[in-house]
């Protein structure tokens, strides 16, 4: 019995056959999801790769991670199930009882204790994980493959615990009775870790470069998302797992037959924000943007969906997902009833619970692997841990904005002086960035005279609003964004805005003549500058602007995308088109057969 209706499936249903073969029975957790067999298939493939398939960590090590992490979460269903499995693997009742109470008292080897310490820390205090935790395991002889498996097992446990709570599944065996307060050792351990500063620099584990042309999951991500998320690139030591995850993304997130893609992206976003996961919030804000949702709206959904422009049903759906993620111990049949009262079907509720659990899986994975965002994050969540199981409220917008700061902004000190009232310090910012702003505005407006006026206007706006600059991006990116807005307003006055926002045109290079070896030698520097300015000015404004920010200002691709409010794939597409158009226009001047056109 569980909270939701079940459906009949034939005995020949593939995942159930596999469960019977591997475990001797079909766990109720999966029977409780028979309304959506596709979901069971995706989950069984992940569980098969991560837990059941023989790999570098032993099955016993992996089952112990599951047991200890589930015990710390007081999840009776998972503890009961995996207690039984470990019994069949030869551990005694006494050993298992001690492990559930405090794994340090269970007579494990030093390295196995460290492995469980790591899994517990990743599950309970994910944002405090840093490179030093991985180094510690490696010093004890764990390979990169083993650490990856430990991260995956912890993520899988979080997934299964969330799923079993959300579905209200009764244990498959006589339930384990928790005797004492939550795992004492874990509490002591979490207090100690308050004083550690995690080293978050870069990826923690080795990965193998794979290409979409010979690795189907990457071809799938490229086709569906336009890019290959770093979280999957970081797991290529286990291609079978990446394949299972790609299948889960396709089957659970990208389907539209039960909940809409928008509803599922919203669940991903709010639960990731609750987990303070900057990476997943950045990725799924971008996904929502690709679905036509404005960045402001997705920020609002992430920070407090109750104030966002959403239907009452969608808000109830997100309330339920957040309660399951934040206060699993209080989650009950009443929460399901609230959704039914909103008109949601059991299939839709099941999918919402699966999405919440999948988000917990992805968030844990990201924190354990240390992947960097694929896009410049609009919201950066502080490293300082919020104890999610105890916190009763979500971080407020103000609190987040106070704590958000771009780590290495060379202008931070000058900006702070201006914000403190030192007007004259602003002159330094004008001198440092005037050139960049002048170029950006020339690029938008196509006229140096008008650019001069607009530069003044942009700096005045920046000065007026400098109190509102909170360091979410670098000051220079913020300033370029103001300049872009100033320029766009002027274009709007000239009714040229359609040309900036319209669809990208097809462009194919036509003139394929080889160029001279050193085209720079054909003209003087001054002639060259005039030629390039003239030809850049002929480009349509949207390509001109991208090309100028990226190739003249030398902003990074992500900075240029932020300044223009574009997604990364859109920015890259415009950039390559702009460069090819400019190349085409320069062929008569620089091709081998050219006869010296006057610049």
């Amino acid at each position: 019995m569980s909270f939701l209706r079940e459906a009949e499936v034939p005995d020949s249903f593939g995942p159930f056959v596999a469960f019977r073969e591997n475990m001797g029975f079909v766990p109720k957790l999966f029977r409780a999801q028979t309304l959506l067999p596709r979901v069971i298939e995706a989950e069984a493939q992940i569980a098969g790769s991560v837990l059941l398939k023989p790999s570098e960590l032993s099955r016993t090590q992996k089952e112990c991670i599951l047991l200890v992490v589930a015990a710390a979460k007081r999840n009776t269903y998972c503890v009961t199930a995996h207690y039984q499995t470990l019994r069949t693997l030869g551990l005694t009742e006494d050993q298992l009882g001690r492990m559930i109470g405090d794994h340090h008292a269970a007579g494990l080897s030093m390295s196995d204790e460290a492995l469980l310490d790591f899994a517990l820390k990743l599950s309970r205090k994910p944002s405090s994980i840093g490179k030093q935790d991985i180094d510690r395991l490696q010093t004890l002889g764990f390979s990169d493959e083993m650490v990856l498996e430990a991260v995956l097992m912890t993520a899988l446990t979080n997934f299964l615990c969330s799923l079993s709570t959300g579905l209200g599944v009764a244990p498959d065996f006589a339930p384990w009775q928790f005797k004492d307060a939550p795992n004492g050792s874990a509490e002591a351990f979490s207090i100690k870790s308050e004083f550690e500063i995690p080293n978050k620099s870069g990826l923690y584990l080795r990965a193998i470069d794979r290409s979409p042309s010979d690795f189907a999951p990457f071809a799938f991500f490229r086709e569906k998302f336009g890019f290959i998320p770093n979280i999957f690139r970081a797991q290529t030591l286990r291609p079978d797992v990446v394949e299972a995850e790609a299948n889960a993304v396709g089957t659970i997130l990208l389907t539209e037959d039960v909940l809409s893609r928008f509803q599922k992206e919203c669940i991903l976003l709010v639960v990731s924000a609750l987990n303070l996961n900057t990476y997943c919030v950045a990725v799924h804000c971008e996904m929502l943007r690709n679905l036509g949702v404005s960045p402001e709206k997705s920020d609002q959904i992430a920070l407090d969906h109750s104030l966002a422009d959403l239907s009452e049903t969608d808000k109830a759906l997100l309330d339920c997902a957040l309660k399951l993620a934040r206060r699993p111990a209080e989650f009950c049949a009443h929460d399901i009833e609230l959704l039914r009262n909103c008109g949601l079907t059991d299939e839709q509720i099941l999918e919402a619970i699966v999405m919440t659990s999948l988000t917990n899986f992805l968030n844990t994975l990201q924190m354990g692997l240390g992947t960097v965002p694929d896009f410049e994050p609009r919201l950066i969540f502080p490293l300082k841990e919020v104890n999610l199981s105890l916190s009763s409220s979500r971080p407020t917008l103000e609190a987040l904005q106070r704590e958000q700061s771009a780590p290495e902004d060379p202008d931070a000190e000058i900006v702070a002086r201006v914000q403190a009232g030192e007007t004259e310090a602003f002159e330094l910012l004008v001198r440092l960035h005037g050139r960049k702003i002048y170029r950006s505005l020339t690029g938008i407006l196509g006229s140096t005279d008008e650019a001069e006026d607009a530069v003044q206007e942009a700096f005045l706006k920046a000065f007026t609003h400098i109190g509102e600059f909170e360091g979410r991006s670098k000051f220079s990116t913020w300033l370029v964004r103001i300049a872009v807005n100033t320029g766009v307003q002027r274009l709007r006055g000239r009714k040229e805005i359609e040309s900036l926002e319209g669809e990208d045109e097809e462009f194919r290079p036509r003139n394929i003549q080889a160029w001279q070896d050193d085209p720079e030698l054909s003209y003087s520097k001054e002639e060259m500058r005039r030629l390039i300015e003239k030809e850049i000015m002929k480009l349509p404004v949207k390509y001109r602007l991208v090309l100028m920010l990226r190739d003249l200002e030398e902003l990074t691709t992500a900075e240029a995308a932020t300044a223009l409010g574009l997604g990364l794939p859109a920015l890259k597409a415009r950039l390559v088109r702009g460069r090819l158009m400019l190349r085409e226009s320069l062929v008569p001047y620089f091709s081998k057969g050219s006869t010296g056109v006057t610049a």
């Binding site: 794979r210 042309s213 050139r435 003044q456 160029w515 500058r529 850049i536 950039l575 062929v587």
Partner: protein, 88 residues
């Protein structure tokens, strides 16, 4: 095998060195066999070099200093007005 269209789509990322090593090898192997894409790659790379080094749209020196002055005097003017107006 990569087509010319795919190569052109990835050309920007290739020039910016933003492709994975293995994919880069595939793009390069296409390049080794396709004369058209060789010309496109070479000329676009040279275009970028010329643009970056051209100093285009640089602040003309005669404009730079007066512009800084204009901006700062307008800001000081605004501050003076703010200070002069009664606070609420």
């Amino acid at each position: 095998m990569i087509s010319c269209d795919e190569f052109i789509t990835e050309l920007g990322s290739l020039l910016d060195d933003e492709v994975a090593v293995e994919f880069r090898q595939q793009l390069e192997s296409h390049l080794a066999h396709c004369r058209t894409c060789q010309v496109l790659y070479d000329s676009t790379r040279k275009t970028l070099r010329i643009v970056t080094e051209s100093g285009s749209f640089d602040y003309p020196e005669p404009i730079a200093e007066p512009l800084v002055e204009k901006i700062m005097s307008r800001i000081r003017g605004n501050c003076a007005i703010d200070k002069a107006s009664p606070s609420d």
